[in-house]
Subunit: 348 residues, 2 copies
C-alpha cells in the first residue's frame, strides 16, 4: 500500500482516485483553485458534486493550501489538471517533489513552441520543473475513459505511456484493478498525440448529430451516422499522419488511445456537444455562448494545430492540402465560417 | 446515361439505387424470391416497405421472373443479395451475363473453403460463374453505409475495391453523386475482410449497451461507453491481424471499410441489437428467439471465423491465443456460453 497524491479534483482527477483506492492505496485528492467548491463539497459529505458518487474509502480531499500535507509521504503523484493548467502544475509541484518520484498525468494537449514545432504536454510539464527534476520521465494515460464511468467502476482498458520502463511498470502494477485494465507503451509521443487529437476529432464527429437535427431528424438508428462515420474515418487518417509526423507509432491510432478514446468522446461530453451546435448551423462564438462555462479543449487544440498547419506545410513536414478536416475545423473555430464538411477533400 | 441492373431488393440493394439513379442512370431493381412482397409493394405504390422512401425517378422494380428483361441492355450489374445468396446470385446471373460486363457487389462475408483457408465473397462469386466469365473482376463496396440513410441522401464516403482499374474507375465515375463520395482501392482483400468482420465486431461493441441495462442503467452519456470503446479498439486490433494474415493492407482498418463501417454498424442495426440481448445475459438461442426472422450475418461470420481459428493457429497462420475477442464470441454463439468479456486477454 502506497500513499498517492492526485493534483486536480475535476471529473477526471477525481474518477482516477477510484481504481487507485480500490487497488489498496491511500489517495490524497488535491483541488486546484478552480476546484475549491468541489473540495469543500467532498469534505462536507464525501461526494464530488459533478461526479455524483461517494468517494471510495481511502480517498481524502485536500484544498490547494494543504498541498504540502497531501504530498507528505506520497510515493507517487498523479497530475489531473486540464491542459491549460500544465505549467501551473509543474510550477506548484516542482519545488515540493523529490527527485525520482514517479509522476503520471492525464492532462492531454499539444503546444506549438515555435512555428511548426509541436510538443506534447509531458514535455512541457517537464520543462517547467526545477533543474533537479529534469531527469524525471513523466508518464501519461491514454485510452477510453469517461470519468463518470470510471467512478462507477465500469470496465475500461487504458494505456500508460512512459519512457522509463521501471516507472511505467510500477504505475501499471499499482493502479490495475479487475475493472481498470492497464497496458503499457514506451511510445509517449504516439499515445499523447492520439490523446490530444481525439477531443478535436470527436467534436467533428459530433457535428453529424447537429446536421441531422437541423434537417428535422431525431435521434434514431437512421440519422446521419454515415456522415459521422465518414468523419470518424477521416479523423483516423489525419491522426495517423500527425502521429507519424511527430515520430510516434501509428499503431496507436486503431487502438485504445486513438479510435477507442475518440469513440467514447463522441458519446455526449463537451466536445460532442460543441460539434452538435456547430452542426446545427451556429458560428463558433454562438456555440460558445451556448456552452458558457465549459472548458473547450477541442477548440484549443484546433487553434494550435490549425494555426501550425501552414508552417508544417511550408517546412515540408506535411504535404500541401494535408489534414482537410482539421483545416476546415480551424476555419470554423478561428475563421468564423459555418460548418460545410469538405467530404470531397477526404480520403485523397 | 447507362442502364444498370441491381439484383437483390433488400434494404441495401434498394438504397444503392438512389445514388445510381441520381447520377443519371436507369436502374432496374430485381428482387430475389425472398423480396417478392417488397417488389410487389414497389410496383404498387413506388415505396419499398422497409426503406420507407419513394423510389427515385428512374428506378424500375422487377420480379425475379423478369430478370431477363431487367438485364436486357444493362451495361453494369450490381449484386445486392445477402452473404447467403452469393452462390445463388452467381448461378442465376452467370448464364445471362456477357463476358466483360462490369459487376459490383455489396455482399459481405467470409467462407472457409477448407480447414484454415478463408475466402472473400467476390472470389466465391467468381468461382460460381460459368467458365466464359471467369476473367471478370467483380468489384466490391466497403465503407459506412446505413441503407436507410443512403436512401435519404445523407452524405457518406465509401470504397469501391477491384483488381481491374478501368472497371473500378468506371463504377466510381458512374455512381458518384454530391452525397455519395466514392474512393477506390485495388486491395479487394483488405476492403472485403474489413467489410465482412465489421458485423461481428459491431455486435460485440453492442454488448456494452446490454450489460449497462442489465446493471440498471439507461441510455446516457455515462453508461458503458468505456467498455464499448475497449471492445471497439480490440476489434480494430483483431481486424488488423486478420487483414494481414489474408494478405490485405491493414491501412483499411483505421479507414472507411474498417473502423468507419464498424462505427455505423453499432448504431442500432441487427448486429448491435443481437449484442444487446447477449449483454443482457441471454444465451444465443434465447437472443435468436427474440430476433426471429432477422438474418444474423454477424453470427454467421463468427461461426466461420471462430470455427476456422483452431486450424489457423495449428497451421501457424495466427499465434496461439490470437483473437481473444473473436474466440469468446464463438464460445457464445456456438458453444452456448454467456457473455463474460475477456478484457484481461485484450491488448496483449
Amino acid at each position: 500500500m502506497a500513499k498517492v497524491a492526485v493534483l486536480g479534483a475535476g471529473m477526471m482527477g477525481t474518477a482516477l482516485c477510484t481504481p487507485i483506492a480500490d487497488a489498496g492505496h491511500e489517495v490524497r485528492l488535491v483541488g486546484t483553485h478552480l476546484d475549491a467548491a468541489w473540495v469543500e463539497g467532498m469534505k462536507r459529505d464525501g461526494v464530488h458534486p459533478k461526479v455524483g458518487m461517494p468517494l471510495p474509502d481511502g480517498v481524502l480531499p485536500f484544498a490547494l493550501e494543504e498541498l504540502d500535507a497531501a504530498l507528505d509521504g506520497a510515493s507517487m503523484v498523479c497530475v489531473g489538471v486540464s491542459s491549460a493548467g500544465v505549467r501551473w502544475a509543474a510550477q506548484n509541484l516542482g519545488p515540493r517533489l523529490q527527485p525520482g518520484i514517479p509522476v503520471i498525468a492525464v492532462t492531454k494537449g499539444l503546444e506549438e513552441s515555435e512555428p511548426g514545432v509541436l510538443r506534447i504536454l509531458p514535455d512541457v510539464f517537464l520543462e517547467h520543473l526545477p533543474e533537479n527534476l529534469r531527469s524525471l520521465h513523466p508518464c501519461a494515460i491514454g485510452g477510453p475513459c469517461i470519468a463518470g464511468e470510471l467512478a462507477r467502476r465500469v470496465h475500461t482498458a487504458v494505456v500508460f505511456a512512459g519512457r522509463d520502463e521501471p516507472t511505467l511498470k510500477r504505475f501499471a502494477e499499482a493502479f490495475s484493478t479487475p475493472y481498470y485494465h492497464v497496458r503499457t507503451s514506451k511510445d509517449v509521443v504516439g499515445v499523447e498525440v492520439c490523446a490530444a487529437l481525439k477531443n478535436a476529432y470527436a467534436m467533428a464527429v459530433g457535428i453529424g448529430a447537429g446536421v441531422h437535427e437541423r434537417a428535422g431528424g431525431t435521434a434514431a438508428p437512421v440519422a446521419h451516422h454515415n456522415y459521422e462515420a465518414a468523419v470518424f474515418a477521416q479523423a483516423c487518417i489525419e491522426m495517423d499522419q500527425l502521429v507519424r509526423m511527430l515520430g510516434g507509432d501509428p499503431a496507436h491510432v486503431p487502438h485504445l488511445a486513438g479510435a477507442g478514446d475518440m469513440l467514447v468522446t463522441t458519446s455526449g461530453g463537451r466536445s460532442s456537444r460543441l460539434g452538435r451546435w456547430l452542426g446545427l448551423g451556429l458560428s463558433f462564438p454562438e456555440a460558445q455562448e451556448k456552452m458558457k462555462g465549459d472548458t473547450l479543449e477541442s477548440a484549443d487544440l484546433i487553434r494550435v494545430l490549425g494555426g501550425a498547419l501552414p508552417s508544417l506545410i511550408a517546412q515540408g513536414k506535411l504535404p500541401p492540402g494535408a489534414l482537410p478536416l482539421m483545416r476546415h475545423l480551424h476555419e470554423v473555430i478561428v475563421g468564423g465560417q459555418r460548418i460545410d464538411m469538405p467530404f470531397d477533400q477526404f480520403f485523397r
